[in-house]
C-alpha cells in the first residue's frame, strides 16, 4: 500500500506541467540568472502572479519556442538579442502588443517595436565595443585599440578574437554594424584584413570576452558592458567604443503567440518597462542601458558620453533573407580563408 | 510392466522440430509406457536432447502432439507439465543453499516455506545427504551435486522424470554407482523416466527400453537385449557395443531362415526380411569361437591383449580382420598363431547395410 502511494505521488509530481490558471506566468528568460530571478520575484511581488521562470540562452529559447509553436508552453520571452526576437516575429512565433510605456522608451527600443510590427520591443541595450587585456598589451608593448581600423595593425597579429556570426548573435550584430558604417564591401574588406590578426572565431558569443579577461587573447570584440563586468570581477580588462561609431545591441522581449496566460503576459510586458522594473537591472548586477528614459543607467556603467552610437538598421538586418545572404558572404570571404 | 503410482504414459505423435531448414528431430512417433525407464541413445547431434527438451516443455515442437498421462501438453509450458528434469550440468542455483535449491520447486508450486523445507530435508536424506542442507552447491563434490539435482527433481513427485546425460561429469566408478542408484530409485517409485545418454553401457544397464537415434530420427527401439542381439542395421549394431561388420551373401532363403555365405563357410540365420544377394553380418566379439587351425574360417592372430577378465584378439582372415574376445585367460594365444574361427548361435545377425 505504501509503495502504491509512493508511485502515485511520483506520478503526480512528474506529471505537473507548466503553470496555468489565473495568477500564473511562464517566463522564458535569456539573460543572466540573477537578472531573471530578480524579474521573476519582482513581478510576483508587484502583482501577486506566480512566475515559473526558465533560463536558457537566446538561441535555445528561440529553438524551444519554435519547437513548441504548435502548443506554446511559454508566455513571455524576456531578454535575448533583438535579432533573435525579430526572427521569431518574422516567423509568426510571437504576437503584437503595444506596451503602455512605449512613448517613454529610447528611440532604439521603439524602433525595434516598429520594425517588428509591434511584436517585440527593446527593454535594455548593450554597446558593441572592443575589449583588451591591459596586462598583456603592456607586456607586449602594444598600444590599446580605440577604433575599428586599429584592429588592422600588423602588430596585433594573432591577438584578436571574435565569435562566429553563424552561431553567435553578438558576432552577427558586429557584422551588421560594420556593414552599416563602412558599407558592405568595405566592411568585408576590413574583416578580411582583420582576419590575419584573428586567432580564432569561437562559436559562443561570450567566449571572446571570457578569453580576454583570462589573458587567453589580448583583444576581443564584444559588448562594452560585458568587458566592464569582467573589470568589476577583478580582471585587467579595459574597453573602448570604436571611434568610427558603434551601435547598441538591443535586448528585447516578446509575447509568445498563443500564450496560455495572455493577460498575465501583457501585464508583465507593461510592468517590465516601468522605471521600477528597469531598476532591477542594476540590482541584479547588470550594466545594461535601460530602455525607459525615465530610468537611470546602472551605477558603474562605462562612460559612453564620447561614444558615437548609430542606431542599427533593424528593418534591414532583422530579415532572415538578408541575414542568410550576409552569413553566406561571410562564409565565402572570411570563414574559408586559410589561417 | 508394473504401473507405478506416479508413472504416466508419454505419447509422442508425429513430433518434429526444425530450426529454419535444418531438422533437429524429424517427425516421429514414440510411446513411453508408464513406470518404465526409457533411454534415448545416440551420438552427439542425433536429436535426442531436443526430443527430451520437447517432452520437458523447454522447446516447442514444430509439428505433432505430445501427451503425458493422457493430457495434451503440446503447448503447455514446462511448469505446467508434471515432469522434472535433471540437467547434465545439474543447473543448481549457485546463490542458494542446497536446501533452498531442493525446496525451490515446492515453493514455486505454492507450498509454504516451512513445509517445503521439511520436505526438502527429507528428500536430501533419501539421497544420503543429511546435514548438508546449509551448504552452497559449490561446496559439494560432483557426486553430491548430482544427488542434490536428483533430489530437487524428485521432491516434486513428478509423473515423469527426465535425465539429460546426468552422469557425464562424473568419474567412471561414481558413474556406475549413480546409475545403479537411479535405476533402483525408479523401480522403487515406479515413476516414468526418460533418460538421455550417449553411453551404450549406461543405457544397457538401466533401461527397460532403449531408443537409438541417428540423424534426427529413430534408428531402432526395443529392449536392451533386442537391440544388442538383433540390431536393425549396421549403425545400431556398431553403436550398441562392439561388433564385427563382415560382408556376406545371402545365397538362398527358406522360410524364416537364410543360407548365408561368409568367405568359404556357410551358416543359417534368420533372414529378417533381407533379400537374396550381398548383405552385412554383425558378429559380436564374444560370438567368435576360436578353435584350432583347420576348423572353420582360417585366421592368424595379429594382436593379443590381456584385459584381466578376458583376452582380446584381432585376427586376420580372408574376409578381413575380426575382433574377438575370449574368456580363456589362462591359455592366451600369441600373436602369429594360426587359428580356426567358428560362430556361436547367439550374437550373429544379418543387418541392413
Amino acid at each position: 500500500m505504501r509503495r502504491l502511494a509512493a508511485i502515485a505521488l511520483a506520478v503526480a509530481t512528474l506529471s505537473a506541467g507548466p503553470a496555468a490558471g489565473q495568477g500564473a506566468l511562464n517566463l522564458y528568460c535569456s539573460g543572466p540568472v540573477e537578472w531573471c530571478q530578480e524579474m521573476a520575484t519582482g513581478f510576483q511581488a508587484a502583482t501577486g502572479t506566480q512566475v515559473a521562470m526558465t533560463q536558457k540562452s537566446t538561441g535555445e529559447v528561440l529553438a524551444q519556442i519554435r519547437a513548441e509553436a504548435a502548443n506554446p508552453r511559454g508566455d513571455v520571452w524576456w531578454t535575448g538579442q533583438a535579432d533573435a526576437h525579430l526572427v521569431a516575429a518574422e516567423q509568426g512565433l510571437t504576437e503584437p502588443f503595444r506596451p503602455a510605456a512605449l512613448d517613454d522608451l529610447e528611440p532604439w527600443a521603439r524602433d525595434l517595436w516598429t520594425a517588428s510590427g509591434g511584436r517585440t520591443v527593446g527593454m535594455a541595450g548593450l554597446v558593441v565595443g572592443i575589449g583588451y587585456n591591459t596586462e598583456l598589451l603592456a607586456k607586449k608593448k602594444l598600444p590599446p585599440p580605440a577604433c575599428w581600423d586599429d584592429l588592422l595593425r600588423p602588430a596585433y597579429r594573432g591577438e584578436i578574437q571574435m565569435s562566429n556570426p553563424h552561431s553567435s548573435g553578438t558576432a552577427y550584430t558586429i557584422l551588421t554594424i560594420l556593414v552599416q558604417i563602412k558599407g558592405e564591401d568595405a566592411a568585408f574588406r576590413f574583416l578580411q584584413g582583420m582576419h590575419a590578426n584573428v586567432n580564432s572565431y569561437p562559436r559562443s558569443g561570450i567566449a571572446p570576452t571570457r578569453a580576454v579577461a583570462r589573458g587567453e587573447t589580448a583583444i576581443s570584440l564584444g559588448f562594452v558592458q560585458g568587458f566592464a563586468a569582467e573589470t568589476k570581477a577583478g580582471f585587467p580588462v579595459a574597453t573602448a567604443a570604436p571611434c568610427e561609431g558603434t551601435t547598441l545591441a538591443v535586448d528585447a522581449m516578446s509575447i509568445v503567440k498563443g500564450a496560455r496566460n495572455r493577460a498575465q503576459a501583457r501585464r508583465f510586458y507593461d510592468w517590465a518597462l516601468t522605471p521600477e522594473a528597469q531598476a532591477l537591472t542594476a540590482k541584479a548586477g547588470q550594466l545594461h542601458l535601460p530602455a525607459n528614459r525615465k530610468a537611470p543607467p546602472p551605477p558603474g556603467t562605462p562612460d559612453l558620453s564620447q561614444a558615437r552610437l548609430v542606431p542599427q538598421d533593424l528593418a534591414r538586418f532583422g530579415r532572415s533573407a538578408e541575414r542568410n545572404r550576409l552569413l553566406a558572404r561571410w562564409d565565402e570571404e572570411i570563414g574559408r580563408l586559410p589561417r | 510392466m508394473p504401473q507405478g503410482k506416479g508413472g504416466a504414459e508419454v505419447r509422442l505423435e508425429g513430433i518434429g522440430k526444425r530450426y529454419g531448414k535444418v531438422a533437429a528431430v524429424k517427425p516421429l512417433d514414440l510411446v513411453i509406457a508408464g513406470g518404465t525407464l526409457v533411454t534415448l541413445l545416440g551420438p552427439s547431434g542425433c536429436g535426442k536432447t531436443t526430443l527430451l527438451r520437447m517432452i520437458a516443455g523447454l522447446e516447442v515442437p514444430s509439428e505433432g502432439r505430445i501427451s503425458i498421462g493422457g493430457r495434451d501438453v503440446t503447448r503447455a509450458s514446462a511448469g505446467e507439465r508434471d515432469v522434472s528434469l535433471v540437467f547434465q550440468s545439474y543447473a543448481l542455483f549457485p546463490h542458494m543453499t542446497v536446501a533452498e535449491n531442493v525446496a525451490y520447486g515446492l515453493v514455486s508450486s505454492g507450498m509454504g516455506a516451512r513445509a517445503a523445507r521439511e520436505r526438502a530435508m527429507a528428500a536430501l536424506a533419501s539421497v544420503g545427504l543429511e546435514g548438508l542442507g546449509e551448504r552452497l552447491p559449490s561446496e559439494l563434490s560432483g557426486g553430491q551435486q548430482q544427488r542434490v539435482a536428483v533430489a530437487r527433481a524428485l521432491v516434486l513427485e513428478p509423473a515423469v522424470l527426465l535425465f539429460d546425460e546426468p552422469l557425464s561429469n562424473l568419474d567412471a566408478r561414481l558413474r556406475r554407482r549413480m546409475r545403479d542408484e537411479i535405476r533402483e530409485l525408479q523401480q522403487r517409485l515406479g515413476v516414468t523416466v526418460v533418460y538421455v545418454t550417449h553411453d551404450q553401457s549406461e543405457a544397457l544397464a538401466v533401461s527397460d527400453r532403449i531408443v537409438v537415434m541417428r540423424n534426427a530420427e529413430i534408428a531402432q527401439a526395443g529392449t536392451p537385449a533386442e537391440l544388442y542381439e538383433f540390431p536393425a542395421d549396421v549403425f545400431v549394431a556398431g553403436f550398441m557395443g562392439e561388433a564385427n561388420i563382415l560382408p556376406a551373401r545371402i545365397a538362398a532363403i527358406d522360410g524364416a531362415f537364410a543360407t548365408v555365405e561368409i568367405g568359404p563357410t556357410t551358416i543359417r540365420l534368420p533372414h529378417r526380411g533381407l533379400p537374396q544377394g550381398a548383405a552385412s553380418l554383425a558378429i559380436r566379439p564374444e560370438a567368435v569361437r576360436i578353435g584350432a587351425a583347420g576348423h572353420g574360417l582360417p585366421g592368424q592372430v595379429r594382436r593379443a591383449a590381456y584385459m584381466g577378465a578376458v583376452m582380446e584378439y584381432t585376427i586376420d582372415t580372408a574376409i578381413g580382420p575380426v575382433f574377438a574376445v575370449s574368456p580363456d585367460v589362462g591359455h592366451p594365444l600369441a600373436a602369429g598363431a594360426e587359428v580356426g574361427l567358428a560362430l556361436a548361435d547367439r550374437g550373429v545377425v544379418l543387418v541392413r547395410p
Binding site: 526558465t54 535579432d83 562559436r203 | 542455483f93 546463490h95
Partner: protein, 732 residues
C-alpha cells in the same frame, strides 16, 4: 479473469483520459462523472460530451469483453479475441490521438472526410496511458495463448513492453528529427533539399589537405575521434597492464580512475586544461619565465580538444580493458612459456592477440564517446568545429536550421554505426574465449621488461597529469576568482548551499543550488531503477528468447547510445510537445530521456553477464514449476547483481551529469543541476559552478556506495572462483 482487459476498461471508463493541467490529484482520478470534458474519462467524453472519436476505443473494449467475461472459452480462441481487441484498441487510441490535436483536425483530408469540428484535445494522460498499456498486454497475452513465445505470457508481455516503449521513446522521436533532414527549403523539394544539405562543403570539404584552409566538420570529427580512440586505448592498456600484471604499490588507487569520468560534471576537464596549458596558464608562464619562449594559444583548437578528450576517455578505455586483461587465462601464457617462448614473445603472440576483442571494444566505446562529446569541443575548440557542436549551433545558433541539424545528426549516426559494423566484421568469427568454466590455477604472467618500462613511463606521468588537471579544476571552488585571485574562500559553497533560519525558527534552503539539486536527485533516483529494470529485462529477453525481430530490437536499443544528446533533446521536444503525447515541461520527459539514453549500458552489461549464466539454470527453474517471473526474480536477478549494480550506478550518475540532452527539456519546475552549472559557466561564474560540481561528485560517490549497499553482492560460496554450472557445450 483477464487482468489487462480490466486495466484497459479502467483506463477508458474510470480515469481521466487527458493530461491534467495542474497535475493529478487523488480526487480527480474518478473521472466518470466529471462535467469538464478535459477532466473526464474517454467513456464519459464519448457519451456526455459528444466526442465521437472515442467510440472506437470503447468498441475495442466490447470486442475483448468475451475473453474476460466468459470463463468457458478455449485457450486459443480466447487468445484470438484478445489479439483482435488489443490491436483495435491500440489503433483506435493512436488514431484518435494523431487525428485530433489542439487545433481540431490535424490534417486537411481528415476535415474533408469527417467534416469540420469545433473541438480540440490535449495530450493523453493517465487514463489514455493505462488504456494503452491494457490493450498492449491484451495483444501479447493473446499471442502467448495462441502459442507464440513458447506460450509464455510473461515473455510475450516483456517483449511487447520493450518493443512498445522503444517505438514510443526512441524510434518515434528519431524519425521525427530525421524527417527534418528532408524538410523542403525555399528553393528545393524534400529530396533535393536533403541532397543539398548532405553535399555541403562545410561538412565534407577537404581543403585542409591541400591548403591552410579548414576541412569539413565531418572530417574534423572523424580524425579527432580516430586519434582520440587510438591514443586513449593505448593509454588504457598501459594502465590495465600495470593494474593487473605488476606489483606496483599504487595500483589499487589507479582503480579510482575508472569512476572519475562518469562522475565528472561536464566542462571540468576543459577548464582544468586551460588553467594549466592556456596562454596564461601555469605551464606557459613557467616556460616563459625560464626560457622566454611564448607557447601561445596552442591549447585552443583540434590539439586541445584531442588532449581533453584523451584525458576524459582514457579512464573509460581502462575500465573496458581491465576486465579483459584480467580475463585472459594464465594457462595460455604458461603454455606459451613452457613452449620455450620468451616473455616478450609470449606477450606479443599470445597475450596481446587474446586482448584484441577488448582493445577493439575499448576503441569503439571511446570512438563513440568522442563523436558525441560536446563539453570539450565547446570549451577548447576555438574555431575548430566538430559535428556535435555544429548540431548544437545549427539548432540554437543564428542559423536556427533544424534541417541542417538533422542532416548532421545523420552523418554522426552513420559514423557510429560504421564503426560498430567494422568492429563486428574485424573480430568476426574468430574465437577469443579463454575463460572456461573450470577453475584456472595458473598465475598471470608478469610483464616483459620492455613492456613494463613503456607502460610505466606512459601511465605514471599521465596519471599525475590527470590528478593535477582535476585538482586545478576543483581548486576553483575554494578560491575567490578562479585563475586570478587565489585567496582561499568557502563563499561559493555558501552561495550555493546556504541554509538560513526563518523568523519562526524553521530552516530555509536559501542557497541557489538547492532547487535544482533536489530535482536532479529526485529524477535521477526515479530514473535509475526504471533504467536498470528495463535494461535487465531487455538483456534477458535478448539473450534468452528467440523471436522474429530480435535483432531489430537489439539494434533499436543500442541506437540512442550513438546519438548525441543534443539530437535527442531536440527530437524529444519536437515529438512530445504536441498531442498525443504531450509531456514537454513535465518530469516524465526527463525521466524518459534518462531511461532510454542510459539503458544501452545496462543492456550491454546485462547481456555480458547473462552469457556467463548457463541457460540450464533458467530451464531448471522452469521445470521446477516456477513461473517465468519467479525465475527472473529468484534465479536470474540474484546472479546478475553485478550487472544490475552497474546499470543502477551508471544510470543514476549519468542522469546527474548529462547536459546536452536535457538542456532543451528542463523547465521552470524541473531544473537540472548540470543546466544550472552550464549557465553559470557561460556567465563566467566559475566559482559557484565548480563548487556545485564538487558537491555533485561527493554526492555521487555517496550514492554509489549506497546503491552498492542496497543491491548487495551475490554469494556463490567460498570457492567463488569455480562456477557450479559448467556451460553445456555440445547440446544436440
Amino acid at each position: 479473469m483477464q487482468l489487462w482487459w480490466w486495466v484497459a476498461l479502467a483506463g477508458a471508463v474510470l480515469l481521466p483520459w487527458h493530461m491534467q493541467q495542474d497535475g493529478l490529484r487523488a480526487g480527480s482520478l474518478l473521472a466518470l462523472f466529471q462535467d469538464d470534458p478535459e477532466a473526464a474519462s474517454a467513456a464519459a467524453q464519448a457519451v456526455r460530451h459528444g466526442r465521437f472519436w472515442f467510440w472506437p476505443v470503447l468498441a475495442a473494449l466490447a470486442i475483448g469483453a468475451p475473453a474476460a467475461l466468459l470463463p468457458g472459452l478455449g485457450r486459443e480462441r480466447r487468445g484470438g479475441i484478445l489479439v483482435a481487441a488489443g490491436t483495435i484498441g491500440i489503433l483506435a487510441v493512436v488514431a484518435q490521438g494523431f487525428a485530433i490535436g489542439i487545433r481540431g483536425w490535424t490534417a486537411p483530408w481528415l476535415e474533408a472526410l469527417f467534416g469540420p469540428i469545433e473541438d480540440r484535445q490535449f495530450g493523453i494522460g493517465i487514463g489514455g496511458a493505462v488504456a494503452l498499456v491494457g490493450f498492449l498486454f491484451q495483444v501479447t497475452d493473446g499471442l502467448a495463448r495462441q502459442g507464440a513465445f513458447k506460450g509464455d505470457r510473461f515473455t510475450a508481455g516483456a517483449v511487447g513492453l520493450l518493443a512498445g516503449s522503444i517505438l514510443v521513446f526512441t524510434f518515434w522521436p528519431m524519425a521525427t528529427i530525421l524527417s527534418q533532414a528532408f524538410g523542403p527549403t525555399a528553393e528545393h523539394g524534400p529530396l533535393l533539399a536533403f541532397a543539398e544539405r548532405v553535399a555541403d562543403r562545410k561538412v565534407w570539404g577537404l581543403a585542409c589537405v591541400t591548403s591552410a584552409r579548414s576541412c569539413g566538420v565531418a572530417w574534423n570529427t572523424l580524425v579527432l575521434a580516430v586519434s582520440t580512440a587510438t591514443v586513449a586505448t593505448a593509454l588504457g592498456l598501459a594502465f590495465a597492464l600495470i593494474a593487473t600484471r605488476t606489483s606496483f604499490p599504487a595500483r589499487r588507487a589507479m582503480r579510482l580512475l575508472t569512476v572519475l569520468p562518469i562522475i565528472t560534471p561536464p566542462f571540468v576537464i576543459g577548464l582544468g586544461l586551460i588553467l594549466i596549458f592556456g596562454r596564461s596558464g601555469v605551464v606557459n608562464q613557467m616556460v616563459e619565465a625560464l626560457t622566454g619562449a611564448q607557447l601561445g594559444r596552442w591549447i585552443y583548437g583540434a590539439q586541445g580538444v584531442w588532449l581533453a578528450q584523451v584525458f576524459s576517455f582514457t579512464p573509460t578505455a581502462f575500465l573496458v580493458l581491465i576486465g579483459v586483461v584480467e580475463g585472459i587465462s594464465p594457462t595460455m601464457e604458461e603454455a606459451s612459456r613452457t613452449l620455450r617462448a620468451s616473455p616478450m614473445r609470449t606477450f606479443r603472440t599470445v597475450s596481446l592477440p587474446l586482448m584484441r576483442p577488448g582493445l577493439a571494444n575499448a576503441w569503439l566505446v571511446v570512438f563513440v564517446e568522442s563523436l558525441a562529446d560536446f563539453g570539450n569541443p565547446i570549451v577548447l575548440g576555438g574555431s575548430f568545429g566538430v559535428l556535435s557542436t555544429e548540431i548544437f549551433f545549427a539548432v540554437v545558433g543564428a542559423q536556427a536550421d533544424f534541417g541542417r541539424a538533422a542532416m548532421l545528426a545523420l552523418v554522426l549516426l552513420g559514423f557510429a554505426l560504421a564503426a560498430f559494423f567494422l568492429q563486428r566484421a574485424v573480430l568476426g568469427r574468430r574465437s577469443y574465449v579463454s575463460m572456461s568454466g573450470k577453475g584456472d590455477g595458473g598465475l598471470p604472467a608478469t610483464l616483459p621488461r620492455p613492456v613494463a618500462i613503456a607502460a610505466f613511463s606512459i601511465a605514471v606521468p599521465w596519471a599525475i597529469l590527470t590528478a593535477i588537471v582535476y585538482a586545478m579544476a576543483l581548486a576553483g571552488a575554494f578560491v575567490k576568482v578562479w585563475g586570478r585571485d587565489w585567496t582561499p574562500t568557502l563563499d561559493h559553497f555558501a552561495r550555493a548551499f546556504a541554509i538560513t533560519t526563518a523568523p519562526d525558527g524553521g530552516l530555509i534552503l536559501s542557497g541557489l543550488a538547492w532547487n535544482s539539486l533536489g530535482t536532479t536527485v529526485t529524477l535521477a533516483a526515479i530514473a535509475a531503477p526504471i533504467t536498470a529494470a528495463l535494461g535487465m529485462l531487455a538483456s534477458w529477453v535478448l539473450s534468452r528468447q528467440r523471436f522474429a525481430g530480435r535483432f531489430a530490437l537489439e539494434f533499436a536499443l543500442m541506437l540512442t547510445f550513438a546519438v548525441p544528446g543534443t539530437v535527442i533533446g531536440v527530437a524529444y521536444i519536437l515529438t512530445y510537445n504536441i498531442p498525443p503525447l504531450e509531456i514537454t515541461g513535465t518530469g516524465i520527459i526527463l525521466v524518459a530521456c534518462f531511461v532510454f539514453r542510459n539503458m544501452p549500458v545496462g543492456v550491454r552489461s546485462g547481456m555480458a553477464a547473462m552469457s556467463q549464466l548457463d541457460r540450464s539454470l533458467d530451464e531448471a527453474s522452469a521445470t521446477l514449476r516456477a513461473s517465468t517471473f519467479r525465475t527472473l526474480r529468484r534465479v536470474v536477478m540474484p546472479l546478475l547483481k553485478p550487472a544490475i549494480l552497474t546499470a543502477l550506478v551508471y544510470s543514476f550518475v549519468r542522469a546527474m551529469t548529462t547536459v546536452s540532452a536535457v538542456i532543451f527539456l528542463v523547465s521552470a519546475r524541473h531544473e537540472m543541476a548540470t543546466v544550472f552549472i552550464i549557465n553559470r559557466v557561460i556567465n563566467g561564474d566559475y566559482g559557484i559552478s565548480i563548487a556545485y560540481s564538487a558537491a555533485l561528485i561527493v554526492l555521487m560517490v555517496a550514492a554509489i556506495g549506497l546503491i552498492q549497499l542496497l543491491v548487495g553482492s551475490r554469494r556463490l560460496g567460498r570457492r567463488a572462483a569455480a562456477p557450479v554450472a559448467i556451460p553445456a557445450g555440445g547440446r544436440v
